[in-house]
Point group: C2
Chain length 628, copies 2
């Protein structure tokens, strides 16, 4: 599949955009006219740069408001087209996008529009240019791709064909199956865009909220399947108007874009294999190493200049010190299958924060290879000759994601590099053995920069086969926090991605928002009692919360009193119950312990505002959490 | 009119919200239940704080999903209500908001709903509580305020009445005239919200995009008029769910909110005076000193640690040095009626930036008094005994807005404090006299922090009677820039408020976005030629722009060549033509010169992307303009 992308998807100058597209591996680009008009580079210089970068210039776009007009305006439009055809010759671009008329059309007559397109085709022939006519979803008379195709058929000129755009087709609810009826040689170009489900007017939806394939709600796999069956074998190009991408560094947007196309290509290949068997089509589709869902968390890693505050929390939660790494200032703490690494290879002043997570997968090599083919950046950590070689890639927020070999007994081979395990408290003090009530990592919550949120969801879905579930918004004293859970089907891996309010992002102090690791306990009350005895400072929960809990649920008064005494939170739904508590925050990290009873699959969302408000109060002394 | 506001409008803790509301001058507040639940303060402590602050606690809200349910659920709901009534007694709140059932209603029968509300009323009576029933726009069976009122009438219980919410009424297109048919004593509460015109589903629209009265598209004056005619005399309360307000400092949001209510009150009084003459209603409405639109710009002021770069630009544009201030390191430069003050009373390293603007008004004292009553902060500048006393207030972005006395001959009395005028170039060099081709300030363009944009529009509209015209979005290499023009009817004063992309705001270097002053010229080509001779570095315009200009407009080739030679930009519409050019940027300020031909009323918006891209290129060396 030949990949392409419109320059309007990216920020920066035209030259910066072109370099980013080449670096991300695109075959070609569409030049969005305004990007050229504001550029000091001549058309010849742009053409030469594309040659140097190995990019084809696939489309000049868009030309607007041509057809369906009265005779004098038609002549002016042809003059305008001539100037653009001359420009395209200088650029070496053979195809021009013509959008169905929005502003100046006064004649609602297919035959007249076709006559005018034929005039344009005759002019275009003199320049060796082809015109791809596209039905805009909000076109004045033409807003349906089959209608546009009828006009192209009527025009019956070799230089006049069709441009298909998934947004304009799917946003209006047109059935993409009709693509298969279009002769492949008349499909001059294809543009892809996804979009979230929004009941917004179609123009605003298109201009501001398009996203890359896989980041929205459109069924682009089926769209692509129809396209492949049509026999089309030209560029498949992304055209995404998105307010966020427009202000994000162009190199990472280009990588995100490329990832979306690679993944769509694979899913389309898989769909066609399933539905059409071995049928051969002109467009060849590449595939990727397939991977099963990860089966669980192998570990979580916290980086810290000074490990003592983190190790104290883990000790209080009943974790055991499993020893230091034999060559590095790194500690391992465990409880059941929950493993937490505290990485002290940092500058002394570095605040603790979550830096890496390990996932259990069937085939680490294949999983890493898949991720890298999806343009994930590999992590290279130096290791000694006799140490485990671990596969890892960077997530979009720079968290390192390790792909570890799942073992039948839940142990980790790399843990042998740590030792000896001794009864030790935090900071090397003598520790007391604890009951290991915590058995595993339940979920990890990572805050995401607002401008890379869609990218993060696509990353985890495409590389690791995690599934996004419906997102939620939770009020905090600093604004709404949007939370998106990505999980494996059996719940062995659950990641919660949060976008914090902007004010926090841009506040003084760098805008870190605390992240956390949640552990599973088989007996939350006992875990909390043990932690209290070991001196844990729980995140305090206000009395008003428990009064409301009493009003909402008929709880045993003794149980309610126990919850309140220990600062435990409670939720219930049709499937089961959820008990949980939070530790205080150290640096940018805190811990949660949860107990799931029955089939409860949530995360205590009704309690999240209580947590956020209590953390806000606790951090009031720190200037970075409050920006004016 | 008794003013009130729901705590959900503001960021922060409940206590912070209450203090901000008291400081802004509200009479009372509505306590939004989640704000209380997450608070460590007891209900008694909140009640005491309200007493101390002089705030009434007007409403407890909301109670949801009560009516239209089967018998067992009704009993559970009554239990839940009892707990909340007890809580309200502790808070000292007499009115509870009950939203029409969204989630649990199964019985679509008004008589049944009324019976259940009567049960609730009987329970409420025991606690001295009143229940205000409100039709949510997305209520399951009840989404129309007249329908809710029919159920209230059927319930026929003294503790059961109505809550009217302008959003739920106007967003659905219900006619607010029917408010007048409701007996005033049955209107237990009124909530106001405005909203922009969005074709979005009503729930998302309500939950994220509500704004304060005057900041949206609803006709709240007519809504208020119907309410006043109904005889209602209770609190008029703001209930605004807005993603931006939720993350903005609560003290300024509260001031913005109060300003919106004061202005709405005045406009309602004026509407009723016009339509109903001297009719007396129970609700008394306060008015403000009325002011006419400003008639022109009196001056613009640029602050700079070193004035030389700014004075050099003004000299090149043909301005004359009218002398230094007699007591302060401040320069005055003039050309025709265009006056620019360069204020050097700054730390040496301060980059030049627009700090103040002066407007010609009929009665400066009245205008300043009006602004201060609308909660604008007055500017206090020290001045000598024999200097002009100028009235000024801070705009939301901290620009100082001076209200100056308009004179018949266009001079400014304060200018006498400057002198002597000498032929002088920048930095005290000998200057040459220039033709004063620039005659006035055409417009001033101020960039606004994204979170205070709606506040700024309301500020200029309410305090200065400027009118907002439809906003535009302009692409830049760093994202879309939204531009909102505020102007006087005759165009004597035009302000363009821009929101820059967020990445710029949060980038390293503090996120200043350049602002500019545009001057009017009677002959732009001559002005540009003279400026070129005086050494002005024009903002460069790419050749591609002129080729496109030739394709779009049939321009005389000689004229086109002259435009290109001088880096002039051109636009044309049905009313006339527009020529303009830009200077380079010094610090955070640059200048524009414009010539309006015929009836052209725009600002060359099609050329704005060229300007933004060229400025982006020019600033590429400066790290603050490019954030990763």
């Amino acid at each position: 599949m030949r990949t392409s992308i419109a320059t309007v998807c990216l920020s920066g100058t035209l030259e910066e955009k072109m370099r980013a597209c080449a670096d991300a591996g695109f075959d070609g680009i569409e030049i969005f006219e305004p990007d050229l008009l504001v550029s000091p580079s001549s058309p010849e210089q742009i053409r030469a740069l594309a040659d140097t970068l190995g990019l084809t210039l696939d489309l000049y776009q868009p030309f607007r408001d041509f057809e369906g007009v009265e005779a004098p305006l038609l002549e002016a439009n042809l003059d305008r087209a001539r100037a653009k055809f001359e420009l395209m010759n200088r650029l070496g671009i053979e195809t021009m996008l013509l959008c169905s008329n929005v502003g100046t059309a006064t004649i609602d007559d297919d035959a007249a529009a076709a006559d005018q397109l034929r005039r344009l085709g005759e002019l275009a022939a003199g320049y060796g240019v082809k015109v791809a006519y596209e039905a805009l979803a909000w076109g004045r008379y033409v807003n349906d791709f089959e209608h546009a195709q009828r006009i192209v058929d009527l025009a019956d000129h070799p230089q006049i064909g069709t441009c298909l755009d998934s947004f304009h087709i799917l946003s209006r609810g047109w059935d993409p199956a009709a693509i298969e009826k279009i002769p492949a040689e008349k499909i001059f170009f294809v543009q892809l865009a996804d979009a979230p489900e929004l009941s917004l007017d179609v123009l605003s939806w298109s201009r501001h909220y398009r996203v890359f394939p896989g980041e929205g709600a459109f069924d682009l796999v089926r769209f692509m399947a129809h396209l492949v069956r049509s026999g089309y074998n030209g560029p498949v190009s992304l055209e995404i108007f998105n307010d966020v991408f427009r202000q994000t560094a162009e190199d990472r947007t280009a990588v995100d874009a490329m990832r979306s196309l690679i993944w769509l290509e694979e899913r389309t290949a898989s769909y066609l294999k399933e539905h059409d068997g071995g049928t051969h089509y002109p467009m060849s589709l590449a595939t990727l190493p397939s991977v099963a869902e990860p089966t669980g968390f192998n570990f979580a890693e916290v980086k810290a200049g000074n490990p003592d505050a983190v190790s104290a929390l883990l000790y209080q939660l009943g974790f055991s010190f499993a020893g230091g790494h034999r060559t590095k200032p790194v500690q391992l703490w465990t409880s059941g299958a929950a493993r937490v690494i505290i990485n002290g290879q940092q500058a002394g002043g570095m605040e603790p924060g979550i830096s890496a997570l390990g996932l259990d997968v069937q085939d680490p090599q294949a999983a890493a290879s898949r991720a890298v083919q999806l343009r994930a950046r590999p992590v290279s950590r130096r290791s000694q000759a006799d140490e485990q070689v671990l596969q890892a890639v960077f997530a979009p927020d720079s968290t390192e994601v390790f792909l570890c070999e799942a073992t039948a007994d839940g142990t980790a081979a790399w843990a042998d590099e740590f030792g000896p395990a001794v009864q030790q408290g935090p900071g090397g003090t003598a520790g007391q053995p604890a009951q290991p009530l915590i058995s595993a990592i339940d979920h990890i919550n990572l805050s995401q920069p607002w401008q890379h949120f869609d990218e993060a969801v696509l990353f985890y879905e495409s590389t690791l086969s995690l599934t996004p579930i419906a997102s939620q918004e939770v009020p905090s004293p600093m604004g709404l926090v949007r939370s998106q859970v990505m999980r494996s089907a059996d719940g062995g891996v659950r990641l919660a991605l949060n976008i914090a309010p902007l004010i926090v992002e841009s506040g003084p102090g760098g805008g870190e928002y605390p992240q956390h690791v949640a552990f599973t306990s088989t007996d939350l009350v006992a875990t909390a009692r043990q932690a209290a005895e070991r001196g844990l400072q729980f995140l305090p929960v206000p009395a008003n919360y428990y009064e409301d809990l009493a009003a909402r649920f008929r709880l045993n008064p003794g149980f309610l009193a126990e919850l309140q005494e220990l600062n435990l939170l409670y939720d219930r739904d049709g499937d089961g119950e959820f008990l949980h508590f939070y530790t205080g925050t150290v640096g940018n990290v805190f811990f949660e312990v949860v107990e799931r009873r029955g089939g409860y699959e949530g995360y205590g969302a009704p309690n999240a505002p209580v947590r956020l408000a209590s953390q806000y109060l606790a951090s009031r002394g720190e200037p970075k959490r409050k920006a004016g």
